[in-house]
Symmetry: C2
Subunit: 286 residues, 2 copies
């Protein structure tokens, strides 16, 4: 057996600050069912979005080092904050292991699908304030017009499991009424879901946006980028591989399992989660 073939059987590592990145795991599993996936949710330090850039970079480095130590063939940074603040650093650190974030693939898909060059980015306040999607879209289309709209309540709705129904519709309607009421010329024709939680609210968001706005889900586009990278580098799992998912969290297995099952799209229990401590200095256990 060649080294390359052994390497192709290694898992894909995916990390996020919490449970949200399980929507990326969900999308990768749907697209690449015979890949092994190793997920790390850094639930002891969630959310990253309110932390300083230096802290986010340090957390992301620890998470990446942990996954590399487990043996992975590719790393997906399934956290918008870490994708915005730590991707270049992680790429240098992990080379030649490829590193894929969620921002750039989402931006590229939006540019491809937009005719009007008017983009809407829906994300948490910390992500919209970083303007990472705006920068990524402008690199691909300098004439694009981008609006980033914080919709923080979607996170709480997704974690509460209130993904459909009158409350989800009312919240989406409240955030997006201003977009829907615009004239055709001023309205975006593409909306990026720039938060890993938001795919759970696809129905209410789509209803509130109304027709004529295509939704780009950055979890799905990240999964497509993973497939392209594995194909290009010859690292795709062989067809006889069974695939599977291993879940690791840094705190709160019970809550992770209860909330995360909806994100992953299949039930799992607290017993299915390995608890680990990847940054001893930050948890009082030094």
């Amino acid at each position: 057996m060649k080294a390359g073939m052994e390497q192709s059987r290694l898992p894909i590592g995916i990390f996020d600050s919490g449970v949200g990145g399980l929507t990326v795991v969900h999308a990768v599993r749907d697209l690449l069912p015979n890949e092994e996936l190793l997920y790390l949710g850094d639930t002891a330090r969630v959310p990253y979005g309110t932390k300083s850039p230096a802290s986010v970079q340090r957390y992301a480095t620890h998470a990446a080092d942990y996954l590399v130590g487990q043996g992975i063939k590719l790393l997906v940074v399934a956290c918008n904050t870490a994708s915005a603040l730590a991707l270049d650093e992680l790429r240098q650190r992990l080379a030649p292991v490829p590193v894929i974030g969620v921002v750039q693939p989402g931006a590229a898909a939006a540019v491809n699908r937009s005719s009007s060059q008017r983009h809407l980015v829906l994300a948490t306040e910390s992500t919209t304030s970083q303007l990472a999607y705006t920068r990524a879209i402008l690199q691909l289309d300098p004439d694009a017009v981008i609006e980033e709209l914080p919709c923080s309540l979607f996170v709480a709705l997704a974690e509460e499991g209130w993904n459909t129904g009158p409350i989800a519709d009312a919240v989406a309607g409240q955030y997006l009424a201003g977009i829907r009421e615009r004239s055709d010329v001023e309205r975006p024709d593409v909306a990026i879901l720039g938060c890993t939680h938001f795919p759970l609210l696809l129905g209410p968001i789509g209803n509130a946006l109304g027709p004529g706005i295509e939704i780009v889900d950055s979890a799905t586009t990240a999964a497509s980028a993973v497939r392209e990278e594995l194909t290009a580098s010859g690292l795709a799992a062989p067809e006889d591989a069974n695939g599977g998912i291993r879940l690791i969290a840094t705190d709160g297995a019970a809550r992770f399992a209860r909330i995360g099952s909806a994100f992953l799209g299949c039930e799992f229990a607290a017993d299915d989660i390995e608890l680990t401590d990847i940054h001893p200095a930050d948890t009082g256990q030094t």
Copy 2:
């Protein structure tokens, strides 16, 4: 001037993991307008509720030490998680400086006001899972029947500023419909707001509970406990004192000011907040 008189002019220190404790500052200021208040929001490590007990105790110790270092005559732990997990430790550490949490005064007020001995506690999931209010109520009334109900979405609504209107009413209605629909015998007659964010949603919560359930706000009851302690220990500010508020945060002054003004009940700007670093080892700035 006696030492006691000098000490009475020192500020009251109040700390919380974020902006929520500003509702306690609000309540203390309303009750004791000539006291100096020194508030510390540990926004770099918010939320405490999802952290391990060891981390919460360490964070609370750092926050308390910082405020004691500034010179305070009394400490209020305006964080339900830290009140539940770190109060005894802080009392030993700070003695003879008195330390008041938010859980015990709220529990005592509920026991005083309940006739039916049936209590409802509304809080975040992390607080309800600790059962701190249940333990505090049972110490005062071993025959009480207590139900703790997690209402996590109230936090997001309060931080978004959606404190009234159809969405707040719908969310409160969804959480509390089961309480309202009970028979009189089974319904609690007192509801404790066991999260510092929830006083902002007093209207929707009251409407959803319906008549016959008295709401006990643990911010207001903590303020009453502060007054009692200052009177008992002779530490109340002299009548000629002007009172005032000094605000300190550990991260994100802009967001703190924007969200916090509603909690404090008066406008303040990011420039009014001092940023400090109370736990260098946890912020990547070592």
